[in-house]
């Protein structure tokens, strides 16, 4: 007899007294964790298929469902934890690479949680955002070292800037990885809040061109969906070299997710896998990057800032300096915790460095070289709340991208199974039965509300510090103190210890 070594991850706990066998859970679960026995006329669970996405729990009209961790205890072993044992079972079975969705979930230090924010007391008044203006406006793009005047007027126009009302944008998530409804939600929310969303590498669906002013279009190694119209559709162009969830490899979109709409938008055949090469095949060096930056500037007549996005890796500071000198207007750093639709698990969890350290190192390096003003710095990958944003800005970021947090606002429950295409919340799927569960109007309102709420909280914290414009927090590391950090960590972060 062949035994399956893999036990279910979750246990579906159905309260038989409450369950009316109405079959809503059966219809809601794309993973087929709830099934209908037509003979017995009852609903039953298939634990093996459950991913713990909470869709059935949330939609059960009688609250009959609970999902628990499967009560299976391995013999205690601090080294061979169940995670590694189960991983080996899976790979011995399949011979394949382990896949994962969303960002690294390992218990590495979260530096945001080791940084504390200052507030004014007595010598300097705190400012009350309910009674005083509080400004979050942010400009992304190259700033000249000085302005020149002629007869009281500017001698030359500023380089193009992206003007944001708040320092938070929606991170790159491609059409294909996420549904059109999810993308439309983010585009509408970005417009509502005066910020930007990012197309990711999957091109721009024809229905989204109307949000151009709030769009950053991405150019990645697969070059999906790119033509002059696309490049000129947004307010800025982002060259994606790498992403935090999988530094060193390209994007993966399985053919099952490539239906008619995705195929047209990406300009690839229906049903074909969209596998982006690991590097851009026209960028094998920093001087090649310069050529692509300027090709894009030429194609858009120097009217749009060009951003370059890299994963936060060991040598980010030197790489960032090179990118600034190659002519980029914005550098995007994506940290270890950055999310994705699909990544090899070991890469996701073991490659790259935390964004906090990369940000601090890059900002300081650019200042040491007196070129910090020549680029804006945007960070992504791990931002969970408004105080993370405040800390990122104080460390030196101009703005933040949020991806995971934005999807959670749309209903994502972090089951990390985006790569299966069976997202029950209608976000990371192209199945029309599932995507219709996300109403773009409602999604836009929720995503905008998140930004609204965070903006209010940021204003409260700014006012507390006696600051009424975000630029006075930018790089203002005296507003931070480290707690429970080593001397080395403090030195890299460029902050003092709490109590100093």
């Amino acid at each position: 007899m062949k035994v399956n070594y893999l036990m279910p991850e979750f246990l579906i706990d159905r309260d038989e007294q409450r369950c009316t066998h109405c079959r809503i859970c059966v219809h809601q679960c794309a993973n087929e964790a709830h099934l209908w026995n037509d003979k017995k006329k009852i609903v039953y669970g298939e634990d093996q298929n459950c991913v713990n996405c909470h869709r059935c729990v949330a939609t059960c009209p009688t609250r009959a469902l609970r999902i628990r961790n499967y009560p299976l205890e391995y013999k205690n072993n601090a080294h061979w934890t169940p995670h590694y044992i189960k991983s080996i079972f899976k790979q011995a079975n399949s011979g394949g690479i382990l896949l994962a969705g969303m960002g690294c979930d390992r218990p590495y230090p979260v530096y945001w949680d080791h940084l504390l924010i200052n507030a004014s007391q007595v010598t300097n008044p705190s400012i009350d955002p309910l009674r005083e203006p509080m400004e979050l406006k942010t400009f992304l793009g190259r700033k000249p070292e000085k302005l020149s005047f002629q007869n009281g007027k500017l001698a030359e126009a500023l380089p193009p800037q992206v003007e944001l009302d708040i320092p938070i944008m929606f991170a790159a998530m491609s059409f294909g990885a996420i549904s059109l409804n999810a993308m439309t939600s983010l585009a509408m929310a970005a417009k509502e809040m005066g910020t930007c969303y990012n197309t990711g590498e999957g091109g721009l669906h024809s229905s989204l061109y109307q949000y151009g002013e709030n769009t950053i279009v991405q150019v990645a190694s697969g070059r999906f969906g790119i033509d002059p119209e696309y490049l000129n559709a947004g307010t800025a162009i982002e060259i994606k070299i790498g992403q935090g969830a999988k530094p060193g490899i390209g994007g993966h979109l399985p053919g099952e997710k490539v239906g008619m709409d995705v195929s047209q938008t990406r300009m690839i055949p229906e049903g074909s896998d969209a596998i982006s090469p690991a590097p851009h095949h026209d960028i094998y060096s920093i001087e090649d990057l310069r050529q692509l930056i300027y090709s894009l500037k030429e194609a858009t007549n120097y009217t749009k800032p060009v951003a370059v996005k890299i994963a936060a890796v060991h040598n980010s500071a030197a790489i960032a300096s090179g990118i600034a000198r190659a002519g980029a207007d914005i550098i995007v750093l994506d940290g270890l915790r950055g999310g994705t639709g699909a990544a090899p698990l070991r890469t996701r969890d073991s490659v790259g460095i935390p964004i906090e350290l990369a940000l601090a190192a890059v900002d300081q390096r650019l200042r040491n070289e007196s070129i910090r003003n020549e680029v804006s710095l945007v960070v992504a990958g791990s931002i969970r709340c408004s105080s993370d944003v405040v800390k990122a800005i104080a460390l030196g970021a101009d703005a933040c991208y949020i991806g995971t947090a934005a999807l959670i606002a749309l209903g994502c429950h972090m089951c990390q199974k985006c790569y299966t295409g069976k997202c029950n919340w209608g976000i990371a799927t192209q199945n029309p039965k599932l995507t219709k569960r996300l109403d773009p109007e409602e999604g836009a309102e929720r995503a905008a509300n998140l930004l609204r709420a965070w903006s209010r909280e940021i204003k409260e914290m700014l006012g507390g510090m006696g600051i009424n414009a975000l630029e006075s927090l930018r790089g203002n590391r005296l507003m931070l103190r480290g707690i429970d950090l080593s001397e080395r960590d403090l030195a890299i972060l460029g902050v003092k210890a709490a109590g100093e």
Partner: protein, 365 residues
Amino acid sequence: MSLREGEVRIPSGCAISGIMNRKGYLFSGHDIIQSIALMHDRSNGLGGGFAAYGIYPDYADHYAIHMFYEDSFCREETELFINDHFNVEVGGRIPTRKVSSITEAPIIWRYFVQPKAEKVMEMDLEEDEYVARLVMQINAKFPGSFVVSSGKNMGAFKGVGYPEDIGEFYKLDSYKGYLWTAHGRFPTNTPGWWGGAHPFTLLDWSIVHNGEISSYDANRRYIEMFGYKCTLQTDTEVITYLFDLLLRKQGLPLKAVVTAMAAPLWSNIERLAPEERELVKAIRTVYSPLLVNGPFSIILGSRKGFVALNDRIKLRALVAAEKDDFIYVASEESAIREICSNPDRLWSVAGGEPVIGLLEGVEEL
């Protein structure tokens, strides 16, 4: 032992006062001492100082270097350096009188100097930049020596004590200048170091400042990209360098500098006429790291005049007045009325709106 300025960041609150005669008429330090003395309670005896312009007409073309030395050894070391880089016309002690409340004064010296032409050429610099760099070098590399001021036909006189006592100590009633500024200090730490008192100066610039800015580290980290070293870690130091960068090095009009430092709110910028709006928007975009945030009132003095400025939402007091050719600014109205009981005009200065006092015939600071 308490840490000094430069070893720790010391915020402080204060009183400031300034008087100028637009026609360049010279008057003694009597009035400025009387004005700052009235605001005695705004300082706590841990620092007072004055900047005076027009006081050295006989050496008007020389850089007047005022120095503090902790001991004569420091002086000898530093003088070797000074002699190496400057032709010293005259040097000697700055005359002082004994005042019971002023103790532990350093050795206070001044030199009237010209940069050595061959050294200036060798370093390929403008004279001012040459002097500015050497001043920063002395402050950074000669422990126990401190450059108090380094401008032409001006000087700073400061120390630990109440400002009126410092004025008496330096015999300021015997000097005559056309522009005087004064500072009484209320630091929240007590290092008792003379170099840490205000005004802070560089070349002709002198700053007296009241407030504690919350943008300090954002301003500092930006300005340090341009070669400045903020060794004292004080607000006054960083504000001085900020003016120096924008006015002297980049040659920005004063109005643009004020716009950068105390920028109008975006909601007000939106209401400007299109051309003006583009200009202000560009200044705020490019110079956003130089926005000075949090409470401050400052008087920036220079050979050509002064500008007094409040933070943009007016978190510190600042009053101005005019009488004939005189223009006054001070933290409190009473400090002006004390020396000018019946001004032609007196007003409370609005946040972010500069009071500019220029000598007759001068257009920019």
